[in-house]
Symmetry: C2
Subunit: 297 residues, 2 copies
């Protein structure tokens, strides 16, 4: 593992010790990827899985407008071939850690007779602008998203760039009320954000930025879904949904400070629930769709 100045004690001891540089809040998030659900090793290289295991956590830190500091990695490796697999996972993970200047502070490496499990916990620091919560959206706030949506299964789900720099830049220059990253689906995560904020959200479906991959996927025609349906429900876009008060939103959209683009797709409203704009009838209910873990008794 590469050395890092923030690590007072690195990997190899009972725990790692790090120095948080400022007297800010310490942000912590964990994501576990499991073989068969989050990836299939016959279809994707371990490097991309390793990269993703850290990238999803960086996306969560971005959604809090936090600066990444460190991460620890817990692995359950199959007994046969586990060592080689672990090396390849780290070959994907470490370059991303270096890109963001974060320390891999250690971890816990296990072997067992089951499939691969990789659980990464990332720590970050809030900036002087504080943490960007899900629950701060207010009626009248613009719904602004970064990038495009849909079709992530064609590759973006592994190769996405977590919106860390984008979140920090926006939080430093614009009044943001709330934020979330889209992991389970644009419509589902927006609905959750509105619900946590005690309000509703209305989307202008014509404004949703649709990724080329969503078009490609729709044209392959397996399920008959339109590109828009993919954009609303596919998930793993790892783009940001932000609640931005009207004045700041206007300035943000005029300045377009991000290379990935920012789009206003609707507005938070007082009435709870998820809605779509309708030319004739004002608005209609929109069913939130996306990935949800299923459990049976």
């Amino acid at each position: 593992l590469p050395a890092n100045p923030s690590l007072l004690v690195g990997a190899g001891d009972d725990a790692a010790v790090l120095e948080l540089t400022q007297r800010q809040g310490c942000v912590v998030t964990v994501d576990m990827l499991t073989e068969g659900v989050d990836f299939v090793l016959s279809q994707v290289s371990p490097r991309r899985v390793g990269r993703k295991s850290l990238a999803v956590n960086l996306s969560d830190l971005a959604a809090m407008a936090a600066r990444p500091v460190t991460a620890v990695v817990a692995l359950a490796l199959p007994r046969i071939g586990g060592l080689e697999l672990a090396k390849e996972l780290y070959e994907g993970l470490i370059p991303l850690a270096e890109q963001y200047g974060i320390a891999i502070a250690g971890g816990d490496t296990n072997t067992w007779d089951g499939p691969l499990v990789i659980s990464v916990t990332a720590l970050g620091e809030t900036t002087s602008h504080g943490p960007l919560k899900r629950s701060g959206a207010q009626p009248g706030d613009a719904i602004i998203v970064t990038g495009q949506f849909g079709g992530s299964i064609l590759g973006h789900q592994f190769d996405f760039e977590p919106r860390v720099a984008e979140a920090l830049a926006l939080a430093a220059n614009f009044a943001l009320h709330a934020g979330i990253d889209v992991s389970d689906g644009l419509s589902l995560d927006l609905w959750r954000m509105a619900k946590e904020s005690g309000c509703g959200a209305v989307i202008d479906l014509n404004k949703v930025p649709i990724a080329q991959a969503a078009v490609t996927l729709a044209n392959s025609g397996d399920d008959g879904d339109t590109p828009l349906a993919h954009a609303l429900a596919d998930g793993e876009d790892f783009e940001l949904i932000l609640a931005v008060p009207p004045d700041a939103a206007e300035r943000l959209l005029a300045e377009q400070p991000l290379a990935c683009g920012c789009t206003r797709i609707g507005e938070f409203i007082a009435e709870p629930g998820l809605w779509q704009l309708d030319a004739a009838r004002g608005r209609l209910p929109l069913v939130p769709r996306g990935f949800e873990h299923r459990m049976e008794k």
Copy 2:
């Protein structure tokens, strides 16, 4: 999850935000338990597994002489019965968290078709005495251990009390050079500690405090191991091995400040390796034994 004043943002957002109360180092550790290796659900209640998943992390914080602050929990649950299982895991985990005043800051709950995996990451703070590393032992330091060793498989491996209070009390009152918690085996972990410190260790085998469970296990006679052999190699004792300079060691042993007891079992020496005291020949090599994860290519 119970509320906790250290949590500025608790579970339910993209990440948790916590306030570290002092300007000390932030200590982080992760441990993953997997079904079939660390526990067998037909033999142990999920509550005890849940408790252990946090307790092993608290033991790591104790080994750093750190004060526990918070933890996050990542679960891979079997699809069938996963919800009930998760509830029972938390019924074991939460009371231990409350006992130590630490916040469960959230986590990541997944379902899949594999066995149960539970990965806990714990955060703590160093005290003004700094982190207690593995690597600080010096030749001449006494090897002092807490509690007794061996036979943890009979129950102690789940029901042990992490030596958090003990580590903080000792670090506050005595000059400690190094520390480790015994997870894999007294002789193996002592050997690792000596190796990390660039020195060796010699044990007086007559002084090793042997748990009653080690005697019971030896008497059951399955493998022919003596109680001492169990004490040296069984692991999961979650007691502390400390390197204490001679003067402090003498005072510590005279004062006996811990209810669990402190015992001097030997001394760190300049010559590398692990050794046993021998009345006739001075010292003899001692093979470090304990649990090691096996991997095959």
